[in-house]
């Protein structure tokens, strides 16, 4: 997710905070990491996850889109971001939008699998 050990240390910390129920603190740790690597799509994705868990659906969606904007050809990550967007849209009560997002997610997941062979698994670090 990053070659920078400082960023990895902050990601670890975010995970510990998150699993300990300290979501604000997890978000703060991710923001610290983003100050070091502001264009790292994984960090934006993780921050989107935190916001989703906090019920901040609009922010979660934007942050996932922002993650996508930095993701280049990382289709697996894009699939995870669309998954997250879908979940957020369900939270917003937008079922049609959610379905659309899930469809895009599975398309991208398939594309990623096709590229990497069947062995490919999700590389997104899930905070849960």
């Amino acid at each position: 997710m990053s070659n920078n050990r400082a960023v990895m240390a902050l990601l670890d910390r975010a995970e510990v905070d998150f699993t300990g129920g300290k979501r604000d603190a997890a978000g703060a740790a991710l923001e610290r990491a983003l100050r070091i690597e502001p264009r790292n799509p994984w960090l934006w994705h993780q921050l989107a996850q935190v916001r989703l868990s906090q019920g901040q659906y609009a922010q979660a969606i934007t942050l996932a889109k922002k993650s996508n904007s930095f993701s280049g050809k990382q289709h697996r990550l894009q699939a995870d971001n669309w998954q997250l967007i879908g979940q957020s849209r369900i939270g917003q009560g937008n079922t049609a939008g959610a379905e659309d997002a899930f469809r895009r997610s599975s398309d991208l997941a398939q594309q990623s699998q096709a590229e990497n062979g069947a062995a490919a698994t999700s590389v997104t670090g899930n905070l849960n």
Binding site: A6, A9, A28
Partner: protein, 808 residues
């Protein structure tokens, strides 16, 4: 106080008369009662006064904490500057917190423990090394040295906020006061302070004797008495007053500890007068005279302040430096006599100059403009009572290094411009806002040339016409419609007369007063052609364009006239920064913020200001706009930027110049920072400067010093590159060596391919822009150089040469 006169009732008089023995006792009792009543009254008065002065601890405002990690771009010199800013001292064996020493190519140091909003960082004994302008090693000294991935230094304290009181106080806590200061104070003013009950009987006896024998009434005051006197500042010197003072001092000691009394004394004592502003307390005095916090004072500076207690006017170091110096040395001598300092220390300090700042800073923060902005954000988001909670800690985004570069660039460039253009000195003013591209955090704010002095904050309070800085919105609106507009769409730059209701006929002119017939869209923006832009904006719809401004954070509504397309409306630099931040961040708007978090004294987060992002424009058109804004620097109005930053930086930006050259603007972005500079005069008279000759030079100077990241936006999915002939706009095959790569929204590039022109000279030939360089237009900087033109091209090579340039 006036006690009510007692009406003695008839029956008491009778009792008195008849029973003399009892009468005496009764009178004694009544007297006692009256006395205890009076004592009670004094007690209440003094306690009220004391509690009132025991100020709520101020909210403390911190700048950003420097995060250290291997690979961080940082030099040793800059690192040591940061340590000094944090009040670290150089020491041979730096094991104590806040000490450091130089090693062969690095620094060994020990941090302080610090309570952040998200937990406490312990004190760490560390070793850092630098190589080629970056951190190469970071280790913690333990039994054996261990690599650490990340260290967060303490954040620098940048100011205090005193809700409900005069803002301009700098309250200190006893534990933060240098021991030498307390020692000196006790040695000189009240040697028995820690043992007496509030008064010094011998001193009182002496004072009484002198008074009774008709000599002048004088001191013998303990620190406690001085404090009491300070509460009820009157020049009246009577025996009654003295008696009250003695009684109140005794009472004060009865209720409060020595530490509490001493702390209040240190914050209350009068130490000078600045016009209408009284300088109370050592904390503020330290800033007022030496421009630094109390804990960074040297011995002779401490001695001078302690000496001033006796008479701030008599020993005013600015007006009576000789008297102040003499008094300072009396204090130093007394410290030797009391064994507080050694004879050696005395000899080493007695000849030192006073070291007082010639001009007093107007406040306690070195960053008044930024603090003002923080204050506004607090006022907007909080009720006053929320901020009254004691000892709040406010974590802000200010980066002292960036701030310093911004201040220096303004000072240096404005002075140079005045000199070069024979303008009267000190007539130009300037303002700067610098923010981080992806997080919207404000790293620096300069409100004027005298950045250290609070006053008119031009970064947030001046609204000046933005001129051509308004154009990107017009072009972005066009590029959002790829069916009709691309970067190479020809625009009409011929003479225009626009009639509109409610305004006189509008005949926009180009800066050079010439017209250009047909120009490509990207060229019209690069050269800032007014007429082509006006016609484009009118075609798109004036209202449609102006209605978009709120999306980019501009709340102010410009007049609904076509002239607004060319920026005939005023904005503050901070508003312009918000607009360009959105362009820089690929169409995501992140509200600019100065505060990260607010934490109560016990460490509970009161509020966080989390990153907040909103998509306001599609990524594709913004990518195209960025490419066009890069053209402004590469071949347009800001081509002189190359005097400051190398072309590999791929800076995107826009100049702005207003009528009669009154306002000079530059707004632009690199890979990591967005910055806006305004230069003009407070009286709004012409400066003779264009955006390029004025503000851009400040921008370049500043950015060169902060060493930005190259601009390298990610190409969105909906964008593709096409090989285009820059002059004719025809498309060549991608393999053709002529032409330049330009981004298009997919499907909007010319479909037809022209034949690749046969170029003589074979390998190495390509279309050039006249300077012999191959044209590079792609905003992502990748595969920028035509393969034939540069065999060793590519971003890595560019980065290296940039770094080499810096090192050379």
């Amino acid at each position: 106080m006036k006690l009510p006169s007692l009406q003695v009732p008839e029956f008491i008089r009778k009792i008195k008369f008849r029973m003399p023995g009892r009468t005496v006792r009764l009178i004694a009792l009544l007297l006692l009662l009256a006395l205890s009543g009076y004592t009670y009254y004094l007690d209440t008065t003094i306690r009220e006064a004391f509690e009132g002065r025991k100020f709520a601890l101020p909210a403390r405002v911190f700048g950003r904490a420097l995060e250290l990690y291997p690979g961080l771009k940082l030099t040793r010199e800059r690192f040591v500057d940061e340590l000094k800013l944090l009040g670290y001292h150089e020491k041979p064996d730096p094991k104590e917190p806040a000490t450091f020493t130089f090693t062969l190519s690095g620094v060994e140091f020990t941090t302080r423990q610090f309570k952040f909003g998200d937990g406490t960082t312990p004190s760490q004994h560390l070793h850092i090394e630098f190589e080629e302008g970056a951190v190469s090693l970071l280790q913690e000294h333990q039994a054996s040295d261990v690599d650490v991935p990340l260290v967060r230094l303490e954040p620098p304290l940048i100011g205090g906020i005193y809700p409900g009181h005069n803002e301009d106080r700098d309250l200190v806590q006893l534990k933060d006061v240098p021991k030498q200061l307390i020692d000196a104070l006790v040695a000189v003013e009240d040697r028995k302070f820690f043992t007496h009950w509030g008064i010094d009987p011998r001193g009182i006896a002496r004072a009484l004797f002198k008074t009774v024998t008709g000599q002048r009434i004088e001191g013998g005051s303990t620190l406690t008495q001085q404090l009491v006197k300070n509460f009820f500042l009157t020049s009246e010197r009577t025996l009654t007053r003295k008696a009250n003072e003695v009684l109140m001092s005794l009472l004060l000691e009865l209720h409060y500890s020595k530490d509490e009394i001493l702390e209040t004394y240190l914050n209350e004592i009068f130490l000078g007068q600045d016009a209408t502003r009284a300088i109370h307390g050592f904390g503020l005095a330290s800033h007022y005279y030496f421009d630094k916090p109390l804990d960074r004072l040297d011995l002779q500076e401490i001695a001078m302040l302690v000496g001033m207690v006796k008479g701030p006017t008599v020993y005013d170091p600015r007006k009576k430096p000789d008297a102040a110096r003499e008094r300072r040395n009396v204090v130093l001598k007394e410290m030797v006599a009391q064994n507080v300092i050694s004879q050696q220390q005395f000899v080493a300090t007695r000849d030192k100059p006073l070291g007082v700042m010639a001009r007093a800073p107007s406040g306690t923060s070195p960053y008044p403009a930024f603090m003002q902005y923080v204050h506004r954000q607090l006022q907007r988001d909080y009720r006053d009572e929320d901020l009254r909670s004691e000892g709040l800690r406010i974590f802000t985004t200010l980066d002292p290094f960036v701030q310093q570069q911004a201040e220096e660039a303004v000072q240096k460039r404005l002075a140079a411009l005045e000199k070069a253009r024979r303008l009267p000195a000190d007539t130009l003013e300037g303002a700067v806002v610098v923010s981080s591209t992806q997080t919207g955090e404000i790293q620096a704010m300069v409100g004027g040339r005298q950045a250290r002095y609070a006053g008119y904050n031009r970064a947030i309070d001046t609204q000046r016409p933005i001129g051509s800085l308004a154009k990107p919105i017009v072009y972005l609106t066009a590029l959002e419609d790829p069916a009709h507009y691309t970067l190479i769409t020809p625009l009409d730059d011929s003479k225009l007369v626009w009639k509109q209701r409610g305004a006189p006929d509008w005949k926009p002119q180009n800066y050079e007063k010439t017209f250009h017939d047909k120009v490509q869209l990207r060229v019209a923006l690069a050269h800032s052609y007014n007429v082509a832009t006006a016609r484009l904006g009118i075609d798109l719809g004036v209202e449609r364009i102006l209605d978009k401004l709120p999306l980019y954070g501009i709340e102010r509504k410009p007049p609904p006239f076509a002239s607004s397309l060319l920026g005939a409306y005023g904005l503050a630099p901070v508003e312009v920064a918000q607009m360009f931040q959105t362009f820089a961040d690929g169409g995501f708007r992140t509200p600019l913020r100065a505060i990260r978090a607010i934490v109560t004294a016990d460490g509970t987060p009161l509020q966080r200001y989390p990153l907040n992002v909103e998509p306001v424009s599609a990524a594709g058109p913004v990518y195209l706009l960025t490419a066009a804004l890069q053209g402004v620097i590469r071949e347009g109005t800001a081509v002189a930027m190359k005097n400051w930053l190398p072309p590999e930086m791929n800076v995107a930006g826009k100049t702005g110049t207003t009528d009669d050259l009154r306002d000079s603007w530059f707004a632009g972005y690199t890979g990591d920072r967005v910055a806006v500079v305004w230069v003009g005069r407070d009286d709004n008279k012409p400066t003779g400067l264009t955006g390029a000759s004025g503000a851009m030079t400040v921008w370049g100077e500043m950015m060169k010093a902060v060493q930005p990241e190259p601009l390298d936006p990610v190409m969105p999915d909906e964008v593709e590159m096409a090989n285009i002939d820059p002059a004719s706009g025809v498309r060549y095959d991608d393999g053709c060596a002529a032409g330049m790569q330009l981004p298009f929204i997919k499907g909007s590039a010319p479909a037809e391919m022209a034949a690749c022109p046969v170029v003589s000279g074979g390998e190495g030939a390509s279309v050039t822009d006249g300077s012999g360089k191959a044209l590079q237009v792609q905003p992502d900087g990748k595969s920028v150089v035509k393969p034939a033109a540069a065999s060793e091209g590519g971003p890595e090579a560019n980065k290296k040469s940039w770094l080499q340039r810096l090192l050379n």
